[in-house]
Symmetry: C2
């Protein structure tokens, strides 16, 4: 089924109450820290005070002598006789540092004790002898040959491999057309250097994990995670323990945004449990979260964009250096996939540099790598618009990618909604209302994220009353219990209330990849649709003998089974109850591998700001988020995703940053000093949902979690520039920076 | 697949360690009382002190005024505006008495308070005004027209319906041949009157349930139960709440034996939770269990058996009155199905009387109704053996039912193992060792139980390493996680360790009937086998393109997939890992309705006793249990079932009884006074497993949980008779009774 124009749906597009809502608003939902097993020990991590140092010696004897302390583990235990961390050496080193610590907050050891107070005391009693090394925090400096090297064995992947130790993980080049020729054809070329700081996803719930390693080797892990199956896989590899001996029970999750894909505490709790034969819970505090998990990279981007005088983009270039933190990643590679994807540009050359620095290992954060890339490119587009005297939205519309345009990895786009988003922005009440008043400016920006598919698997069981249970394996972060149940209800032609979703553990459903990449409503939705079709087929086969018809003579339309001759008919629920009521249970599966690329989503932002000329403080006056949802399964959740992305983008643009002192220590590792926007800081975010059905999905769904965070950084910078006349090339646009740049002293 | 001779199995017949063993022996397994939800209230039941009374008034005002008391519920709440108990009026009245209390311990009201102490105090503050009525405890007296009537509306079902109120629930008649003619043809006829007392299953774990009725109507129940799906169904009907709004999470279960099929606390906890908006836990103490749950009926059986002088049984008659307790049941009907099923007797007339009395509503207890019936019939067989001078085992062998003999409900038996069991007894070391010493006697007896099939449904998921998860819906009482995993391993040709079983809640798997009737290893085993076959078919289909073969060209044999030409092959685990590793999850289901009758199982007992002539105490010297397991999936569990049945039968025979005072109050409602046998009271029970494969099951399995409790009552009575010369017609054969009967003063 490939919907081009949106079909009439009965359930999709409505706004039912989420099945997990009551538990969550009444405090009954169990999050990571709510797991209290009888006799459980409490774990604590010992973390590095240094940004870069050799560990000379770890002496845990005083800690172990403390009354109530039951065990201490270090990297030795992880890589010990049972462990075989060769498959994931960097992941292992990040979880418990071996020879070196590579960032402030890097975990070195863990303690299990009878309570948290004793565990904390014991952590302080662990004596670590360090040889402190010079550290490197800046991504460009880290690329220099004379920079302190983090990993002796690291060599650059890419077209120019080097034999010398380096901090450059990979040099990715994506080139199309002839970049020299392209710029030569341009009438106007703009370029600039941009930089953004490391920021954190800022999920409200800190990481918390509990593990129990039973004497028969059965390991059970309760954890707040974006992926119970990937967590099982990683723990299996790190602990060299078969996945069939590991059960991961996902708790509810208080936000992740990419930051709860990796494991941190799970294998450590498991090791402590194996040593102590008791369950062990480890809970991070906020400092642990800031210093010991995976924020998103700071960046340095040199970008250049050229157009002919009639406004056609001809050539684009970018040199993008992305912090990987202490261990190799692929953030810059992602950046090459997205920075120019919104536009049809013949000549493009994109270079990405993934670079290690002495900061926490970076991780995904909503549309990973795209916001910083858009911060650069969308400001260049804005500058072109000013220079060419073309309305910034119309300039984007003229150049927007559409079906057939070259997209990420050189693959042509299928049907996408960039033009429609820009058109919606042009038509919006916001854009058609003049902004009045001094020190005010309006900015716009586009954003793109490619979205992923991957593997999903669900089971559907029919109950004796004809209702169905939907059994899923993906943690529900953004309302996917509801969005999947709605797709099943649509497939079966039943009411939303007749589908009861449940998220189960890794033993109770087939393999599911992470709840990330905006994939669950998309890919698990495909699995749900497949399961629904399978169920209809099974019911048809079981109905046939009763109706004295062949299965081929029975059709299913609009939720009703009927014989082709119209002689017999019955609605799904009635037929399902009859068939199951005859005493046969009925469970079917739907499993898909929805591939890597999932069709791509576009977002747009219009933002009005006022800049206080005395303090430099930027106030968001009005914000409209526009986004192509393909098909909005549950419009209220789509709006929530758009608003959440906008607000996180506002925080990133204006206030958030990892602020380091000279010793490489984060100086603001609390929510008092690391300033997330509060409800007082932002206006109501207006939303406009665009629906250009995704041809890859039976209901036209596109992932919606990510594109919304891409435009705000650039849109706000463009607005500040229109308000002040000064272009903002560095984030955050804190009052001090805005004041200094507008006063010309920055 | 219909195995007649036992095939070679690789996994079936081995004795692996049970997957739930570690958790159970280390105390980590969660039983009913281990559910502690945050903010949960504690519930307590108010119970009747009278055996029969009209409830004039319930005044809960003082209870509700007590600090910490949050709610009180009565039958009003159960049958209130939301409830519609018309479908299950007796069940509802048993859970909370309405107009009348019908037995001592009958629940009248329930309290929820912030802790158990306050709840207990509040229960005492509930004031109930009673009009005490005459009560009736004896089953034969209750059948008399002048007996106090329990239910005004009750009329007898059966061939002689009456218009007058009665305590006779049903009169069941099963007649074959010509009973008059049959007895006329006999050379020897024996007859006697027998009676047995009400006994309790004596499971170690008292009932305990927790319910949370969320504001959106979603009701979650955690409970120790033999059937999470039937519990859901019953609660749905009692509470008039859709099953799709109810999730039952079964905890581990500390014994049930039939006593944990019915719900008692679940709907009450649900009502209290709905009133208080908090989770409510109710836990029974032992007095509650004895007085407020479902023991098994006391009986009065008049039986008569005749044979020709060469030892052929020609005619049998029985008049069997079974206590139903306070509410109608069908125990006597069951008795008509089993009492003569072990023998090929042409002329049979069996009458069953189900009778209400002022005692707790009776429930199943291992092979329900059969032990008391065998207590009568197998003593008559013993008496015939003495009179005819034929060895008691040989007499049974001459008359034993075999394939084709008329069985329960007049249906001819398929292949059964009664003859083989008797032959095994004849060949046993025990029977071939003479019993020496004075005051000693050896008794034998046969036992039969029909076993049931019913509905089972399982899911099987393949993991990326080629291991499989087996997802079940039946609480594991006797080791069924293992016995089902073994059958799946056998089907797939993999090791037991490569199958990981899990018992899940009612939302996560298809419908499963009770864990009872010895059905799970049998019927869920069939579902497992079907799921395994489905999985092989699915894997074959997915393997075919890779092997460039058609699915028809791929065969699966001995755990190996191979092309017919032998060109390609791979073991299950390897192929499964490959197929799933390519990124598609794979879950399949197996669902069966295995019907009501499941083939039938026979057991035999040989028991040596010594009777102390001074005290009347009966000591069990030696006991051999023989049983046809069809195919013993896990022989150690089969032996455990046989030994457990024997020990419970010994307790029933010698010590256990509900002992009532003149006011209809149970006088021994504690384990100090209600004497279960301890390990000091019984010798090691020897076991002989007979394996006559059940043609109804792909692996020849028969349920094994029940037949073992059928023979011991009669076998011990026969042994005591041989030791003392006095036939024991009443249970329990306590020291006092044995002494009095042997002294002729009983």
């Amino acid at each position: 089924m490939v919907p081009e124009s949106k079909p009439k749906y009965k359930v999709i597009g409505t706004r039912p109450i989420r099945p997990d809502g009551i538990d969550k608003v009444t405090g009954r939902a169990q999050y990571g820290a709510d797991i209290h097993l009888q006799g459980a020990l409490q774990g604590r991590m010992k973390r590095s005070p240094h940004a870069h140092a050799i560990i000379k010696k770890i002496d845990a004897s005083k800690a172990l002598a403390l009354d109530g302390v039951k065990a201490v583990v270090t990297a030795q235990d992880l890589a010990g006789q049972d462990g075989d961390v060769s498959k994931l050496p960097y992941a292992a080193q990040n979880i418990l540092a071996g020879r070196k610590v590579l960032y402030r907050g890097h975990a070195i050891a863990a303690v299990a004790a009878i309570n948290d107070h004793i565990a904390q005391e014991a952590v302080n009693l662990i004596e670590v002898a360090y040889e402190v090394l010079p550290h490197i925090l800046d991504v460009r400096e880290s690329m220099r040959p004379d920079a302190p090297v983090l990993h002796d064995a690291l060599r650059t992947r890419g077209p120019n491999p080097s034999d010398a130790p380096t901090n450059i993980v990979a040099h990715t080049v994506a080139a199309f057309g002839d970049i020299e020729k392209g710029f030569a054809e341009c009438d106007v070329v703009v370029e600039n250097d941009f930089s953004t700081k490391m920021v954190h996803q800022g999920y409200i719930e800190p990481q918390a994990s509990t593990a129990y390693w039973a004497p028969d080797g059965q390991l059970t892990i309760w954890t707040t995670t974006q992926g119970s199956f990937p967590a099982r896989e990683t723990c299996s590899q790190l602990l060299n323990h078969p996945i069939s001996k590991i059960k991961v029970i996902p708790t509810e999750i208080g936000g992740g945004f990419g930051g709860k894909i990796s494991v941190y505490l799970e294998p450590v709790a498991a090791l402590l449990s194996r040593k102590t034969r008791k369950p062990v819970s480890i809970r991070m505090d906020r400092v642990d979260v800031f210093e010991g998990t995976g924020p998103t990279p700071g960046t340095s981007i040199k970008a250049k964009l050229g157009a002919t005088k009639d406004g056609r983009f001809r050539a684009a270039y970018a040199d993008m250096a992305y912090e990987n933190g202490a261990f190799p990643g692929s953030a810059a590679m992602y950046a090459t996939m997205v920075i120019t994807a919104g536009y049809d540009i013949e000549h493009v050359k994109l270079e990405g540099f993934d670079v290690v620095v002495n900061k926490p290992r970076t991780q995904d954060y909503r549309a990973p790598s795209a916001p910083a890339a858009a911060f650069a490119m969308e400001q260049l587009v804005d500058e072109l618009s000013e220079k060419l005297g073309i309305d910034p939205l119309r300039l984007r519309l003229m150049n927007a990618s559409k079906e057939g345009t070259r997209g990420p990895m050189g693959m042509p786009f299928k049907r996408i909604g960039h033009e429609e988003c820009i058109q919606a922005a042009l038509n919006s009440p916001h854009y058609n209302t003049p902004l009045e008043g001094s020190n005010r400016g309006r900015g716009v920006a586009s954003g793109f994220w490619f979205n992923v598919g991957l593997r999903s698997s669900v089971n559907v069981s029919v109950q004796p009353d004809g209702t169905v249970n939907l059994i899923e394996g993906n943690t529900d972060i953004g309302g996917t219990r509801a969005s999947l149940a709605m797709q099943l209800a649509e497939t079966l032609g039943v009411a939303f209330e007749d589908v009861k979703p449940a998220v189960v553990d890794t033993d109770a459903v087939g393999v599911n990849d992470v709840t990330a990449g905006s994939r669950v409503t998309f890919a698990s939705g495909m699995a749900v649709h497949e399961a629904g079709k399978n169920l209809i087929k099974e019911l048809t086969a079981r109905l046939a003998p009763t109706w004295q018809a062949s299965p081929e003579d029975i059709i299913f339309e609009d939720g009703v089974f009927k014989t082709r001759d119209g002689g017999k008919s019955g609605a799904f629920k009635e037929i399902a109850a009859q068939v199951v009521g005859r005493g046969i249970a009925l469970t079917v599966s739907g499993s898909v591998n929805a591939g890597f690329l999932a069709g791509g989503g576009f977002a747009h932002a219009i933002v009005d700001v006022e800049v206080d000329p005395e303090t430099g403080k930027v106030t968001i006056l009005r914000y409209t988020a526009i986004q192509d949802a393909g098909t909005a399964v549950h419009p209220a959740y789509v709006e929530g995703q758009m608003q959440g992305g906008a607000v996180q983008g506002i925080g990133w643009a204006l206030n958030e940053e990892y602020y380091y002192d000279d010793n490489g220590r984060m100086a603001n590792s609390s929510f008092l000093d690391y300033r997330l926007p509060t409800s007082l800081d932002v206006p109501m975010i207006d939303t406009i949902i665009v629906e250009v059905p995704n041809p890859l999905h039976p209901f036209g769904v596109r992932g919606v979690g990510e594109p919304g965070i891409v435009p705000p950084l650039a849109a706000i910078a463009n607005a500040v520039c229109r308000a002040t006349g000064v272009r903002q090339t560095q984030l955050p646009m804190s009052p001090r920076r805005v004041l200094e740049t507008t006063l010309g002293i920055g």
